[in-house]
Symmetry: C2
Subunit: 205 residues, 2 copies
């Protein structure tokens, strides 16, 4: 691409650095901003900057949050003995959308994946085990992707907590194997939480 | 979508305001920025802000530019008597990519389209007629989209300049009717500039 403006070229290159955005799309987006009032660009950039600099991770569940404790962990009406273990904050959003879950979450920040160089130490597993050790947890629900990496992660955590007195379960595999959690429909996902099965049982299938 | 963070929600909403970006894509892009070093977000936002506040339109051809005159208009090696009339700066980029054109451009900023409420007065037509009137132009090449709106715009300009002593041509219609200029391949587009035809001839087809 031949650019008549360095400023334009730079903006397009930065935009094209986002995943799934090619040069042509980036150009289209940037030219759109140029055609619109300056306030739209300011609103976009300041929202992105504020998010990046001010957002926090909840110090209890590692969900994204504006405060030290996220709204879910700070809510006394939620069942704090029931913890749903998820990979990603998008999974929290997906489960919250179903309206079927009244417990709290624990966001691991990924799953164990030797192929991608992600080991247990890069995930928020130790803080989860600590919560279990403190005796305040009655049940862990594993709600990770139905993939090999998800299963590995479930099993790794299960081994760390099985000596403690608590129930462990996985969400029902209504979700087809190999699918990613965030693309499941709300009904399937909601039922899979209601019909969770003891983790020991899930190993036998 | 249920957001656990107002900052996240705002950033996603702003991102989803861009054309062709849905909420889910916006969330993916924003979470990508959160996972990457802060410098990437700063680089993106400052590039967009600088572009939006500092970029100029060339005062001669209305192409996007960092200076008062764009690089093409300021280049003494270009043939300033030969003006290629285009809708959009993306068309300038497309033609420059072919390397077949040594003249200069005139960017109209759109085409006459009553359906979209765009009349001749919203386009940069008067400055083009002024250039022709000054007697410094030997040929106008119409390189607008091969659509009804493009043809209407060609014809409108042609009527304004036909009394002056200059050649008018349109790029060869190797480009299929109904196609948009920016998606044409470089060879077809390059040839269509080399094989341009007198405007009067193009009316007969």
């Amino acid at each position: 691409m031949e650019f008549s403006s360095k400023l334009l070229e730079q903006a397009v290159n930065e935009m094209a650095g986002l995943p799934g955005i090619g040069k042509r799309t980036a150009l289209r987006l940037v030219l759109h901003l140029l055609r619109r009032p300056e306030e739209e660009t300011t609103a976009l950039t300041s929202a992105l900057l504020r998010l990046r600099t001010e957002v926090k991770l909840c110090e209890s569940c590692h969900n994204i949050s504006d405060q030290l404790l996220c709204e879910i962990c700070a809510n006394p009406k939620r069942n704090h003995e029931l913890i749903c273990v998820v990979e990603d904050i998008r999974d929290v959003m997906a489960i919250e959308n179903t309206g079927q879950f009244q417990g709290i979450y624990h966001v691991l920040g990924g799953k164990i994946s030797p192929m991608d160089g992600v080991g247990p130490s890069q995930l928020k597993i130790s803080t989860l085990v600590e919560k279990v050790r403190s005796g305040l947890v009655s049940e862990l629900i594993f709600a990770l992707s139905a993939t090999m990496e998800g299963d590995t992660t479930n099993f790794y955590i299960y081994n760390q907590v099985k000596s403690f007195n608590l129930k462990t379960s996985t969400i029902a595999r209504g979700i087809s194997v190999g699918d990613q959690l965030e693309f499941a429909d709300e009904v399937t996902l909601g039922r899979s939480i209601l019909h969770r099965v003891p983790f020991e049982d899930s190993l036998r299938t």
